[in-house]
């Protein structure tokens, strides 16, 4: 029957004194690492994104404006808002395509059953067009700040 050899321990922490690593201090500073990443986080742009979202969600709007009409078949000129929105609420009484960028490059399509949405979008204007040419869809955009 083989004798079971228990590991020889130096300090009851499971280190074998014959192991060449036994006297090598091994440690790492958890606090330095975590604070380091925290400060890196603070210094990054990411933190401002989070703060911005927090303040955006914390905002209560007190002013609003309404843009409504019938959508044309093609995007017209960018329609500027009188103020930058905190939130916006868009409804279309049919299918439309809306763009909130100056360049008209990021279109949002509304389809049946998704004919309204509420977005935390800071926009300065919009343009709208029919999803189906000739459909002459009525829309309503309410911006809040």
């Amino acid at each position: 029957m083989n004798k079971v050899e228990h590991p020889k321990t130096l300090d009851n922490y499971g280190l074998d004194p014959t192991d060449p690593m036994a006297n090598t201090p091994v440690s790492f500073d958890v606090s330095a690492m975590s604070y380091g990443s925290f400060w890196r986080f603070l210094g990054s742009k990411k933190v401002y994104k989070y703060l911005e979202l927090f303040f955006l969600l914390d905002r209560v709007s007190y002013d609003y404006r309404v843009f409504s009409g019938n959508a044309p078949d093609a995007f017209g000129a960018f329609i500027p808002f009188p103020f930058k929105s905190y939130f916006l609420w868009y409804s279309s009484f049919g299918d439309t395509v809306v763009d909130y960028t100056m360049g008209g490059s990021e279109s949002i399509i509304t389809t049946e059953g998704e004919s309204q949405y509420f977005k935390l979008l800071e926009a300065t204007g919009f343009r709208v067009r029919n999803s189906v040419a000739g459909s002459n869809v009525q829309y309503q955009l309410v911006i809040f700040r």
Partner: protein, 93 residues
């Protein structure tokens, strides 16, 4: 974050003329429900005037609809003359 701790409700049926409803405190959230038929609303602005007309049509817009909007009241009427709409606005403070 905003936490509501009080509320009041204004409900009724629209007519062809604007009915004005005022709240006893300014809202943090406004929960809007329009029932059966379309209604037109105008919300009170901080200077006491009423803003643009907003049309609410339950055929296209799902309700209740909650808007983080601060107001002390609203005016409401039927969007289509002669077609009354049921409404309920809850002011969450």
């Amino acid at each position: 974050m905003i936490i509501a701790f009080q509320y009041e409700s204004k409900a009724g049926t629209t007519t062809n003329a604007y009915a004005t409803k005022t709240f006893t405190f300014s809202s943090r959230f406004l929960e809007i429900t329009i029932i059966d038929q379309a209604a037109t609303l105008r919300f009170m602005l901080p200077n006491g005037t009423y803003g643009d007309e907003v049309t609410y049509d339950p055929d296209y817009q799902s309700f209740p609809y909650t808007v983080p909007f601060q107001t002390l009241g609203f005016m409401i009427k039927s969007a289509n003359p002669g077609v009354p709409a049921g409404y309920q606005l809850v002011n969450w403070h």
